[in-house]
Amino acid sequence: MKLVIAYIQPERLNAVKQALYEREITKMSVTNALGCGQQMGYHESYRGVDVEVNLLKKVRMEIAVNDDYLKPTIDGIIKGAKTGEIGDGKIFVLDLHECIRIRTGETSGAAIG
C-alpha cells in the first residue's frame, strides 16, 4: 500500500478529482497548504512596506492506495493538474504500513478503498 501526497494548484482540484474518479479512485483527503517551490512568488506591499510572498496557496491531497492503484493515481493527478507551467506541483509517494477503517475495524487493502 502507498500513501500518495500531492501538492497542486488550488484551481486544479476539481480537474484532479475528476481524473481520479475516472480511474475509480474516489477516496482522498484534502487540506490547503502554502508552498514554496520553483515558482516565483510575488510582491505584496502594505502601507509602503514591501512584502515578498513566496509561500503560495496550494492544495495538498493525501490518497492511500493499494499498490496496483498507484499508477492510475499518479496518472490521474498528472492529468488533472498539469498545465505545463511552473507551479504545477509535485507528487510524493510513501510506503503505507497499515490502514484501518475505524467503523468496521477492517485493515489493509480491504480498508483502503
Binding site: 488550488p10 484551481e11 482540484l13 476539481n14 490547503n32 510575488y42 505584496e44 506591499s45 502594505y46 492544495v59
Partner: protein, 472 residues
C-alpha cells in the same frame, strides 16, 4: 424629489395657508398675516433643509450598504478591489457631479440637458438670504443620488474588471450619463433656480408628451432615474466584460460561485433598507406628515418582497435561499421607489410582492438564458425591478393609475420613460464599455483573475492570515 408638479407644493401650501388663516380673512390687516407667513415659511424652510440633509446622509450611508452586499456576495480574493471601487466611485462621483453633473442635470435645460450651474457657479455661497441657500442642500441630496446610480454597476462587473477602467466609468456616469437622463425627468425639481426649465419627460407645456396628450412621467424617488439607469449600465458592462472564469461549464451550464461573507451581505441589506428611508421619504424634501406616509409604503413593499422572494426560492429550490431573499428586499425597495408617494399602503404591498417574485425569475433568466454573469444580481434588482416599479405607477397610482380607473395614459407615459431610460443607459453603456475595452482594456488578465484582484490590482489581501480555500 418627485415629478415636476410635485415640487411647487411646499411653497404653494405656505401661500395657501396664509390666505386661509382665519385671522387674515376676518380682518383687513395683511401686515400680521404676512409676518406670520414669512416666519412660517422660514421655519418650514429650515425644517426642510434639516430633513433633506438628514435624508441625504442616510442615502450616503447606502454606499456602505452596497459595499457590504457586493463584497459579501463575491469571493474573498476580490474583496479589497470591490471595497476600493465603492469608496472611489463615491469620491470621484462627488467631485464630478459637483463640477459637471449637477449643471447638466439641473441647469437651465433645452429639454435634453442643462447648460448652467456648473460648480454651482451661479449660487452666491456667501448669501445671507436663507431661501437662496437651498441649492447647497439640494446639491448634497442630489450628489448622493447620483452616487447610488454610479455604484450599482460595480456589483455586476465584480471580480474581473480592471480598476482603472472602473474609475473612468465612474467619472463618466456621474458627470454625464446619469445627469443627462436625470435632466429629462427631474430638471424641474430645481424650481426657480434654473429659471423654471424642465426636461422633456416632465411633460412641460408644448413638449413632446403634452403634444401626445400624455401626462408627465412619474418617478418620485428614482426607480428609473437612479436604479434602472444604474441597472442597465450594469447589464451593458457585464455583457461586454463576459462571465467570470469558471462561471459557465463547457456545456454552457451556470456554475455556482458562492459569496464569501453573508454576515456582511446581510448587514449591507439592512443598511440599504435604512438608507431607503432617506431615499424615498427624503425625496419629498419637505418636513411634513408625508414623511411617515412614504416611510410606510417603502417599508411594506420591502417586507412584502422579502416574503415573496423567499417563498419563490423555497418553491423552486426547495429551500429558502438567503441570497435571493436579500435580493428580494432590495427588489422591493427599488420597485417602490417610483410609486412610494403616489400609491396606497396596500398598493405598496402588491408592488413589493410582485417585485419579490420577479427578481428571482429575473436572476435565473439572466443567469441561465442570457448567460450574463451578474454576481450580485444588480441588473435584476435595479434594472428590472426599477422598470417594474416605474410601470407600477401607471397601474397603482391613486391618481391616474389603471387599476384605480385612471385609464392608460399614465401607463403609456411610464412606458415611454422606462424605454427611453433603457435606450439611453444601455446604449451609452455599450459604447462606453466597448471604448474602454479597446483602449485601456476592461478586464484583468486571466492569471490575475485566478489569483484574485486584490493581489493583482492592490498588492494586498483583505483577510491577511485567514486560511481560505481558493479552489475557484
Amino acid at each position: 424629489m418627485g415629478n415636476f408638479t410635485r415640487r411647487v407644493v411646499p411653497i404653494a401650501m405656505v401661500l395657501l395657508a396664509i390666505g386661509m388663516s382665519p385671522w387674515a380673512m376676518a380682518q383687513d390687516e395683511p401686515g400680521a398675516a404676512e409676518a406670520i407667513a414669512a416666519a412660517q415659511e422660514q421655519m418650514q424652510y429650515n425644517a426642510n433643509v434639516l430633513w433633506t440633509c438628514v435624508a441625504a446622509f442616510l442615502v450616503m450611508f447606502m454606499q456602505a450598504g452596497f459595499a457590504m452586499v457586493e463584497m459579501g456576495m463575491t469571493r474573498a480574493k476580490n474583496s479589497l478591489n470591490i471595497l476600493m471601487k465603492n469608496v472611489m466611485d463615491f469620491s470621484f462621483g462627488s467631485v464630478a457631479f459637483f463640477v459637471v453633473g449637477f449643471g447638466i442635470m439641473f441647469g437651465a435645460t433645452n429639454g435634453f440637458f442643462g447648460t448652467s450651474g456648473f460648480l454651482l457657479g451661479d449660487v452666491d455661497w456667501t448669501a445671507d438670504d436663507a431661501l437662496a441657500q437651498w441649492p447647497w442642500t439640494f446639491l448634497i441630496f442630489q450628489t448622493v443620488f447620483c452616487a447610488t446610480a454610479a455604484t450599482i454597476v460595480s456589483g455586476a462587473m465584480a471580480e474581473r474588471t480592471k480598476f482603472v477602467s472602473y474609475l473612468v466609468y465612474s467619472v463618466l456616469i456621474s458627470a454625464f450619463i446619469y445627469p443627462v437622463f436625470g435632466s429629462w425627468a427631474w430638471n424641474g425639481l430645481n424650481g426657480d433656480f434654473n429659471g423654471g426649465s424642465a426636461g422633456w419627460l416632465e411633460g412641460p407645456e408644448g413638449g413632446q408628451l403634452a403634444s401626445m396628450g400624455l401626462p408627465a412621467f412619474v418617478d418620485f424617488a428614482g426607480s428609473t432615474v437612479v436604479h434602472s439607469v444604474g441597472g442597465w449600465l450594469a447589464l451593458a458592462g457585464a455583457l461586454i466584460l463576459g462571465p467570470r472564469i469558471g462561471k459557465y461549464g463547457p456545456d454552457g451550464k451556470p456554475r455556482a460561485i458562492p459569496g464569501h461573507n453573508f454576515g456582511l451581505a446581510a448587514l449591507g441589506v439592512f443598511i440599504l433598507w435604512l438608507g431607503w428611508f432617506g431615499f424615498n421619504p427624503g425625496s419629498t424634501t419637505t418636513a411634513n406628515g408625508e414623511i411617515g406616509y412614504v416611510a410606510i409604503t417603502t417599508n411594506l413593499a420591502a417586507a412584502a418582497a422579502a416574503i415573496t422572494a423567499m417563498c419563490t426560492s423555497w418553491l423552486i429550490f426547495k429551500k429558502p435561499e438567503p441570497s435571493m431573499t436579500f435580493n428580494g428586499v432590495l427588489a422591493g425597495l427599488v420597485a417602490i421607489t417610483a410609486p412610494c408617494y403616489t400609491v396606497s399602503p396596500v398598493g405598496a404591498l402588491a408592488i413589493g410582492a410582485v417585485a419579490g417574485v420577479l427578481v428571482v425569475f429575473s436572476v435565473l433568466f439572466i443567469d441561465r438564458v442570457l448567460k450574463v454573469d451578474d454576481p450580485v444580481g444588480a441588473v435584476s434588482v435595479h434594472g428590472v425591478c426599477g422598470a417594474w416599479g416605474t410601470l407600477a405607477c401607471g397601474l397603482f397610482n391613486l391618481d391616474g393609475g389603471l387599476l384605480y380607473g385612471g385609464g392608460m395614459a399614465q401607463l403609456a407615459t411610464q412606458f415611454i420613460g422606462v424605454v427611453s431610460a433603457f435606450i439611453w443607459a444601455f446604449g451609452a453603456g455599450i459604447v462606453l464599455f466597448l471604448a474602454l475595452k479597446y483602449t485601456i482594456g476592461l478586464r484583468v488578465s486571466e492569471a490575475e483573475e485566478v489569483r484574485g484582484l486584490d493581489i493583482g490590482e492592490h498588492g494586498m489581501e483583505a483577510y491577511s492570515g485567514f486560511q481560505i480555500f481558493t479552489t475557484q
